[in-house]
């Protein structure tokens, strides 16, 4: 198994035991899209500070589950979610909870870079301004600068903050979107295949950035690239046909998968 050898050596050690600091906990989560049963009885504990990767073939439900964590599925009329998801022991499907505040705590980076067609500054400043995080213009400037720095794009854009965000290259746009997500200092950052529209160089930069951000944030990333999962994540969850088949430390998962389907998928025999 050449590939798993490679991926094993590239994988980083986990920052700590998962069960101790579980940030996001899902219990018996089921999702229906109308008649379609998209996600079946998912149970998972996701630790704080670190990267958890969701992998699996197309249509397996990994993106669906990701979008359950910030209730983005609410915008789809036919979608129905049952079960329980908590973040920091707070039930996010509690009817009393304001979904907008939840989304401020759970940032999201999408598959295709989607900066607002506004200036770079405005892109980052939108969230903080919306939530009243900055008290003054100076505060806002500081938040924008800090976010852009943490998204390692500051040096590239510091002289053209008033230019349109859509004028940047694809990789830069995606880092701008990450900056926009971290500007509201969320607890969790969800990334839905953030590199699938990018070239290898831009991908490498984003992966570096994810490594860096993992020190401070709980990051959950959906990816189609096994190598990427192996490179950036400490824990991996494998989804198949709406079921969470296997979940564990990335190292262990890529070297010694428990489930034969996992074995088959990560070695490239199907999917």
């Amino acid at each position: 198994m050449d590939m798993s050898q490679q991926t094993m050596t590239a994988a980083r050690p986990a920052t700590g035991p998962a069960s101790v600091t579980a940030k996001v906990v899902a219990r018996d989560v089921n999702v229906h899209y109308g008649e379609k049963h998209a996600l079946k009885d998912v149970n998972i504990d996701i630790p704080d500070k670190g990267v958890t990767a969701f992998i699996g073939p197309s249509g397996c439900g990994k993106s669906t589950f990701l979008r359950c964590i910030n209730r983005m599925n609410d915008t789809i009329p036919v979608c129905r979610v049952t079960g329980k998801i908590t973040i920091d022991n707070q039930d996010i499907y509690d009817p009393a909870l304001d979904v907008v505040q939840l989304r401020a705590r759970v940032g999201m980076v999408f598959q295709k870079p989607n900066p607002f067609p506004k200036s770079i500054y405005e892109n980052v400043a939108y969230g903080p301004r919306l939530h009243g995080i900055a008290r003054s213009k100076a505060d806002l400037d500081q938040i924008v600068e800090m976010s852009l720095k943490r998204a390692s794009i500051w040096d590239e854009v510091k002289n053209r903050l008033q230019e349109s965000g859509t004028a940047l290259s694809g990789g830069q746009q995606q880092r701008l979107c990450i900056a926009r997500a971290i500007a509201v200092s969320p607890d969790v950052i969800l990334m839905d295949e953030p590199c699938s529209a990018l070239d290898p160089i831009a991908t490498a930069k984003i992966e570096e950035l994810i490594d860096e951000l993992a020190k401070n944030f709980c990051i959950i990333i959906v990816t189609h690239s096994m190598q990427q999962a192996a490179r950036v994540s400490q824990r991996t969850a494998f989804f198949h046909l709406g079921l969470l088949l296997e979940e564990g430390e990335t190292n262990q998962m890529f070297t010694n998968p428990k489930h034969e389907k996992t074995q088959a998928y990560i070695t490239g025999r199907f999917g």
């Binding site: 009329p77 907008v100 401020a104 705590r105 940032g107 999201m108 989607n114 900066p115 939108y126």
Partner: protein
Amino acid sequence: MTDIAGTDGPAFRLDMTSDAAKRRIRKRYAAEARFKAYGLAALAVTTLFVAALVFDIIRNGIPAFTQHSLMMDVAVPADFVPADKRSNPVAIRSADYFPVTRDALKAAIPGIQSRQGERTLVRLLSSGAADELRDRLVADPGLIGKTVRVPLLLSDDADLYFKGSGTPIIKRNGVGTATPSGTTGEITILTSSNDFAAEVVAIKQAAKAKADTLAIEAARLATFGGQSLAPRIAEINAEIAELRARVDSPKVEEVLDGKLPSKLVEINGGLVKLTRLTDISVAGEVLLPLTSAAEAKPGNWRVVTYATPESNRKVSDLEIGYLERLREKGFVENRFNTRFFTAGDSREPELAGIRGALIGSLLTLAVTLVLCVPIGVLAAVYLEEFAAKNRLTDIIEVNINNLAAVPSIVFGLLGLAVFLNFFNFPRSAPLVGGLVLALLVLPTIIIAARAALKAVPPSIKEAALGVGASHQQAVFHHVLPLAMPGIMTGTIIGMAHALGETAPLLMIGMVAFIVDVPGALTDAATVLPVQIYLWSDLPEQAFKLKTAGAIMVLLGFLFLMNGAAIYLRKKFERRW
């Protein structure tokens, strides 16, 4: 492993060389060429129609933007307005300007004695001829008692004559020496050569042609037989005999009537209209008096032909005589017709303008715009972004689409029933017109706005939701601003549609003849397309030009609005 072109099955291979394959390619090429030809033909036909339409409108409309007037020195008598009332503009305005302009005109063409001649001369001027003089005097009462050089507006027929709707004029020099018998009234002119032989021959030929036509008619009647037609046939035959006798005898005096081209003689500074003529002598009526009854040498007098018979034109020989004389003396000026843009409607074509209709259109569109944009945009935002997708919203959506296709006159009937009869709003008012047009345009704007909202990529909304914006914030901060260019484009096109709409406004009384320029939303008014419709219905030839001119103005506004829509679309076009 399986192979499509396996050993056992038939070989399914790509065939590119056989005759069948070549036929297939030829057929495809032919089909493509045919399609291209159809497309080009359709385009050519469209272009042709549009070009013909535009050309015709411009050809007819351009003359409406100029107007002929007589630049004259008008002597304003010192007692025109009493000295103590000169500070009062009303007194100056209400003075009688007719004698002043009449005297100026009579000074330009002296020697006219007959009442009829004088009346014809005065009628060459428009009833509003003195308007400019009056404005000058009001602005500067010091001009009273002086001679003022002002343009006097010509009547519509005189204006049209100078715009080329009169008659071709042919002149030739006399060959013999001509001797008139007098200077005014009925005179005869003798010539030493047979100068009028050609005219006499022409008249005889016309008589012969008429006899031949009558002969055919008589023969046709004769085939029916019967006693009842016999007297009529006899009558015709008598007429034929008379005509033929005239044609055959060369020395008989011929009479010119209004159905033949007019013949005139220019001699000794005067103009004589011929009524009876032989080869060497003519009798006629003096239109412009001669300076003397002295004989005129060959080359010093002329035979003039107005090729269009008098009965076929709007201006008489006398009027042409006056107008040509005024032109020779350099009084006639063709100037830009500012009145067309500054005056309201009028029954006199030369006084009519589009200002009233233009202001009416602007007021009406203002009402439409103020109602349509907020209602239309909010309805679209709600339906597109917030409304639950259920049967009710489906029905609403279908009905909005259907409303866009309802004939516009139906909206007019609705306006009549609801706004006029039920709410008792004033008739013919831009307020009601705007309300009716708003109903008409609303579906268009809602559809355009929904399309524009739908065209904003969902990723933008997701991005906003992702950083913690509520649905409403996402829509109003991001989706709506991005859809705005599209909404604006739809709105402008809707407004252009409203600007060109006639039928519903007829129903609510905006088709009335309204002279005043409207000043408020409840004043009686009309709009540009209705004004065009009104003018196109009037019998005066000059209104035909006005109609084309008004169409040009309307089209100009429509082009402007559509241009603005295209500009907005291009300027704010975004690449996501």
